[in-house]
Each structure stands twice: as structure tokens, then as C-alpha cells.
């Protein structure tokens, strides 16, 4: 029997967290979220549209059904990230945030120095922080020590779909920290998600992999099954890798 994903005392049945960006339209997003089985969905914080010409995301997402996880996407400084979190809490009345401090426009790799500084400030403000970070075990430990409720190392650059570029670092992170490890960003298809879960990760967060697929609803379902299958395989314990064959049929009783 599996245990639920527990983040700062809150439990979740689904180990798949999904984003709400880049969908072709809201009805597709709603169906994809449903098909993914996700309970936690990320959202961005932006200026409200003053002329009310565009529909609001919140017309389509029931906050009673989903736990909203506001992100600090597009923040390049710790100050901007902290400011965004304070606004998100006021708008959403929850302390849960996905903290990102971006260091480079082209790769969207995190600025871990700014990330750690922002995390330390936000912990003092009572936030439950899920930081988007590098696949760096030393930084993961620092974020845990700073009081983050989980660590979310990237699989590959955001939106790249390259899958887990450094499974060995993810394994070391899993051995290094006690808080949940959620692979965030870079997952391209179902097998990538399964690999993350087979490594022993506690969850996977993705957006573009689903929203950018030809059929987002179909991909959301595939990701749900991949996360579930990968988790089960991890719990079941895979066989060790060996260079040479081991026969699966007995040698005894051969008649030739």
C-alpha cells in the first residue's frame, strides 16, 4: 500500500502536479486537469486585465476542488519573488507557493543564490515553500535546511521536454533530503515521468508536456498513468541491472 504525498502536513492522493499555462483554450485545460487526476495546480500572478475583455482563469478552476499553487515565474530577483508571494497569499489566502528565481533568460535555469535568499525571507513570513531548483544535491540540502517544505529539482530546462538529464543527481538528492522531492520542469512524455517516479521521487510537476501535446487531454491521462506506474515500480523494487543474461527458464529437465 502506498502512502499519500504529504507536503507540510497536507496529504494528496495524486503525485502529479500540473500547470495551467499554454493550453489552446480553457475547455481543453479543464478536461486535461480532470484527466491528469492532479490535486495541485500551479498558477501565475499577473496584473489583472482592467478592461475585463479576457475571461478569468478562476472562472474555470474550482479552488475547492484544486489546491492552487501560485508560482513566482518571471521573477529574476529575490525581492520580486517575495513581493509576488505576498500578493499571491493576499489573493488566494493560502501560504503555499512555488518559489522560482530565474537566473538566465535563455535556459530559465534558477538563480539558486536568489532562491535561497527568498526562501529564507518567506519562511519567516510563514510560507510553505516548494522551490524550483537545480538538480544540485548541495543546494537541495540548503533549501531543506532553510525550511522549505519540499525541493523541486528540474529534470531539464523548462518547456524543453528533454526528460531527466541527470538521474544520478536526482538519486543523490533523494538520499540527501528528508522533505518530498518533486521533479519540476523538462518532462516531455510519459516515460520521462515514469523514470522520475521509478527513481523514488515523491511527485512530478509539469505543464508544457501536457499543454503543448497535440492532444493535451490524452497526454494528461498518459502522464497520470505513467506517474502511477512509475511509483508502483519503485515500491515494487526493480531488479538490478546486469551486463550478462540470466536464464528465466530452468536448465533442469532439458531433453536435448
Amino acid at each position: 500500500m502506498d502512502t499519500p504525498l504529504t507536503i507540510s502536513g497536507k496529504t494528496f492522493r495524486s503525485r502529479l502536479l500540473v500547470g495551467t499555462g499554454k493550453y489552446p483554450d480553457y475547455p481543453t485545460m479543464v478536461k486535461a486537469l480532470e484527466a491528469s487526476g492532479a490535486e495541485i495546480v500551479t498558477v501565475a500572478v499577473r496584473r489583472v486585465n482592467l478592461d475585463r475583455s479576457k475571461e478569468s482563469l478562476l472562472d474555470h478552476i474550482d479552488p475547492k476542488k484544486y489546491t492552487l499553487l501560485p508560482n513566482t515565474a518571471a521573477c529574476y530577483t529575490a525581492d520580486d519573488a517575495v513581493r509576488t508571494c505576498l500578493l499571491a497569499r493576499e489573493a488566494g489566502m493560502s501560504n503555499l507557493v512555488k518559489l522560482e528565481v530565474i537566473g538566465d533568460e535563455k535556459t530559465l535555469f534558477p538563480d539558486t543564490e536568489g532562491l535561497l535568499a527568498a526562501a529564507r525571507t518567506l519562511v519567516k513570513e510563514g510560507f510553505i515553500i516548494l522551490p524550483y531548483t537545480n538538480d544540485d544535491p548541495v543546494m537541495a540540502k540548503k533549501l531543506e535546511d532553510a525550511g522549505c517544505a519540499a525541493v523541486m529539482p528540474l529534470a531539464a530546462p523548462i518547456g524543453s521536454g528533454l526528460g531527466i538529464r541527470n538521474p544520478y543527481n536526482i538519486r543523490i538528492i533523494l538520499e540527501t533530503v528528508k522533505v518530498p522531492v518533486i521533479v519540476d520542469a523538462g518532462v516531455g512524455t510519459a516515460s520521462d515521468a515514469a523514470v522520475a517516479m521509478e527513481l523514488g521521487c515523491d511527485g512530478v510537476l509539469m505543464n508544457t508536456g501536457i499543454a503543448g501535446a497535440k492532444d493535451p487531454v490524452g497526454m494528461a491521462e498518459a502522464m497520470r498513468e505513467a506517474v502511477s506506474a512509475g511509483r508502483k515500480a519503485f515500491l515494487a523494487g526493480r531488479i538490478p541491472r546486469k551486463l550478462y543474461a540470466t536464464a528465466s527458464s530452468p536448465i533442469d529437465g532439458t531433453f536435448f
Binding site: T20, K22, A44, V45, R46, V48, S56, E90
Partner: protein, 66 residues
């Protein structure tokens, strides 16, 4: 008087408050967060928080993101 809302100049009546501004803009209080001159305005203060000429107001909400 004139204030700046989300980077746009806007004329509001004397005595306007954060609450009256949100009503004028037809924005539900439950879905937004407001900053006045870089300081967060708590929802419980919307009615009492008067606006002054030259105030810079940011009103944010949640949009799709990853």
C-alpha cells in the same frame, strides 16, 4: 484626482477607497490582491484605505502558469 492603476493613469473621485476602485473596475475582491505604493493592502482594509493623488496601485490576480 489622478492615480496610476497597473501602469495606466486613471481619474478617480475625491474620497475614493480601494474598495470603491475595485467596484468601479468591476473586480471581485476575493480574486485579486492590491498593492498601494508597493505595500500590500489587506482585504480587511479595502473599505478604509483611502486613495491619494499620485498613488500607484497594482491589482493582480491568478492567470495560467506552470
Amino acid at each position: 484626482m489622478e492615480i496610476v492603476v497597473n501602469g495606466e493613469l486613471r481619474a478617480v473621485a475625491e474620497g475614493a477607497t480601494v474598495r470603491s476602485l475595485l467596484r468601479e473596475l468591476d473586480l471581485p475582491e476575493s480574486r485579486v490582491a492590491v498593492e498601494r505604493n508597493r505595500a500590500i493592502v489587506r482585504k480587511t482594509d479595502y473599505a478604509d484605505m483611502g486613495l491619494s493623488n499620485g498613488d500607484r496601485i497594482e491589482i493582480v490576480t491568478f492567470v495560467g502558469g506552470g
